[in-house]
């Protein structure tokens, strides 16, 4: 089962390799990972998507917690949360397909952020499923490149995770 885990870590030298090394060393998989500093500059937040059964996930959260550099681990799966991903998509266009491309962009509330005679570059944010959706529709035109950020998540409601 897919799990989205948020990990608050010390923003210090080598912390990313401690986390990624833990996953590779113990045979856990990482589907996506995004990292950035938080409001407190000495903290970073990682959002990672992984898969595994309950026992694997228990080990993943325990092992993450065991790292000295880890401050907090939250597995959002099963809870109420909002998930967003950013994707930049470069799609081939010609005279025939340009209008269709713009319609799709419009429907998905995406944006064209760069234009050439032969291409559009599109920016879209949304849940990963939405991004998969637009990619599906743009595919027939010829996708030249896709850059996805991997999802980031935040819990619903008034309560925040400090940092």
């Amino acid at each position: 089962m897919k799990h989205t885990i948020s990990v608050l870590v010390e923003n210090e030298f080598g912390v990313l390799s401690r986390i990624s090394g833990l996953f590779s060393g113990r045979g856990f998989n990482i589907e996506s990972l995004s990292v950035a500093p938080t409001m407190e500059t000495d903290l970073s937040r990682m959002t990672l998507v992984t898969r595994g059964d309950d026992r694997v996930l228990e080990q993943i959260t325990k092992q993450l917690n065991k790292l000295i550099s880890t401050i907090k681990v939250v597995d959002f799966t099963g809870g109420e949360y909002i998930e967003r991903e950013l994707a930049l998509i470069k799609v081939s266009t010609d005279a025939e397909s340009r209008a269709e491309a713009l319609r799709i962009v419009d429907i998905f509330r995406a944006k064209v952020i760069d234009v050439t005679p032969k291409s559009y570059t599109i920016e879209i944010t949304g849940a990963p499923a939405k991004i998969n959706g637009i990619l599906e529709l743009l595919r027939p035109m010829g996708i030249k490149e896709v850059v996805r950020s991997g999802p980031v998540v935040i819990g619903r409601g008034a309560k925040g995770v400090v940092g």
């Binding site: 870590v9 080598g14 390799s17 090394g21 080990q59 325990k62 000295i68 550099s69 880890t70 401050i71």
Partner: protein, 565 residues
Amino acid sequence: MELTGSQILLESLKLEGVDTVFGYPGGAVINIYDDLYESSIKHVLTRHEQAAVHAADGYARCTGKVGVAIATSGPGATNTVTGIATAYMDSIPMVIITGQVPTPLIGNDAFQEADMCGITRPCTKHNYLVADIRDLARIIKEAFYIARTGRPGPVLIDLPKDIQVKSHKFNYPDKVSLRGYKPTYSGNIRQIEKAAKMVLSARKPVLYVGGGITLSAADDELLKLVEQTKIPVTTTLMAMAAFPQRHPLALGMLGMHGTFYANMSVTECDLLIAVGARFDDRVTGRIDSFAEKAKIIHVDIDPTSIGKNVEVDLPIVGDLKDTLGKLSGCLNQKPELLEDLVEATEEWRSAIGEWKERHPMTYRPSKSVIKPQFVIEKVSEMTDEDAIITTEVGQHQMWAAQFFAFRRPKTFLTSGGLGTMGFGLPAALGAQVAYPERQVIDISGDGSFQMNSQELATLVQYQLPVKIVILNNNYLGMVRQWQQMFFEKRYSQTVMELPIDFIKLAEAYGATGLQATKVDEVEATIKLALETPGPVLMNFKVSREENVLPMVPAGKAIHEMVLAS
């Protein structure tokens, strides 16, 4: 007052109570060695960096203190890795200090540069690259704190040469503040009460005790709990000395080379109380049939150990000393139920007694050839079971665990998790440095011994009276045994073709070498060795194709033991 980085290091070590370090000098630690020249800290020069780490490890295992080793950058540092991984697998508190090339050169493929934080990340509890002299004292403080608290383990500090030379005001912090590291010491009392209930309603309970008991110094609490409940105790390789093996409730070791009665007890029990053990594959055999009739209570300070290999019915995260103490307390509040328990489990203990009678831990004695088990029994008797025993890895290690009747905590130092050949001699060296007056004996095989035999020089230089027992079969015996049992006796690369003259080898270093080739020479050889001052090597030519039994073949359940060849 301003001190240099290397002075800050040594002053900090003193404040941490370190009086002895093990190490090997080199270019990137030359400043530290210059300050050691006139320091009150004793430095023991081993002949290999790996041995320095094993020696510090042996020192830590027998004293409970944090062991400290120093090595230079590059090859010196990479040589420490096996030692660090050994300590990590067995949760031994250590601080390893490696030199590093100057900070401006890091990443440039400089001479003797190796990315030690990268290399040791998976085999240290934590590691540090000191990038700023202002952080040095805090890092040392944290390193010792992390090494000795929670589930202990090795911490590496990679110290660039320019930081050793720079000066800064020395201010050793009183406290550490690590917001991501707060080990749980106190076992949850509700869980402990539940455990007490489970214990009181058990009819076939067994205690399965691991190395955590030694790390937590909870030997007394364990003994008390056993006396109180009369629950039989099986110990892992790491815990053989944590419970007196001559105690009537001692079942000896369990697992791949465990006793028949320990393995049967675990298979048949209705309650398994695992304390400070981690359900290692060498203990459990086929995991789905391990203690399959039992409810399992698992007490450990490391939450990741619980539920990792087997599902448990009652997890308790906490320090064993605290938890077992509280459990005893809970049980004491119900003296009648406790009495009932002892009575109701009488049948169970006599069933175990029958298993013990049917298949005791034994071997076929011989008058014509020296049996390795016989040598161990004699060493056990002739040292009054009071010596500090270290081992290498292989058959001799298992025989030591099976036939030495340990009775005092911290007297069996062996590489349990990583299984490092070459551990025993340097570990004995470290133990002898810690306790100059005690008898320290390395039980070894001819294969393992040659992995760190250069440490004979260290023993002689410091006149450390370590006695070395080589059970010499001219084979890599454990692998040979597997080849015999599972590979149709195809002894691929396990025959040590060249017979070594170990007496000459010992003498070349200035140590005493003795040899026994006949059964009736065994006792005299051990006696002479124990009476001879300084390091003594004893070469016992033992029965060559002796096997370690019982044995649970890989992939089998632990009650499916091979009992005889």
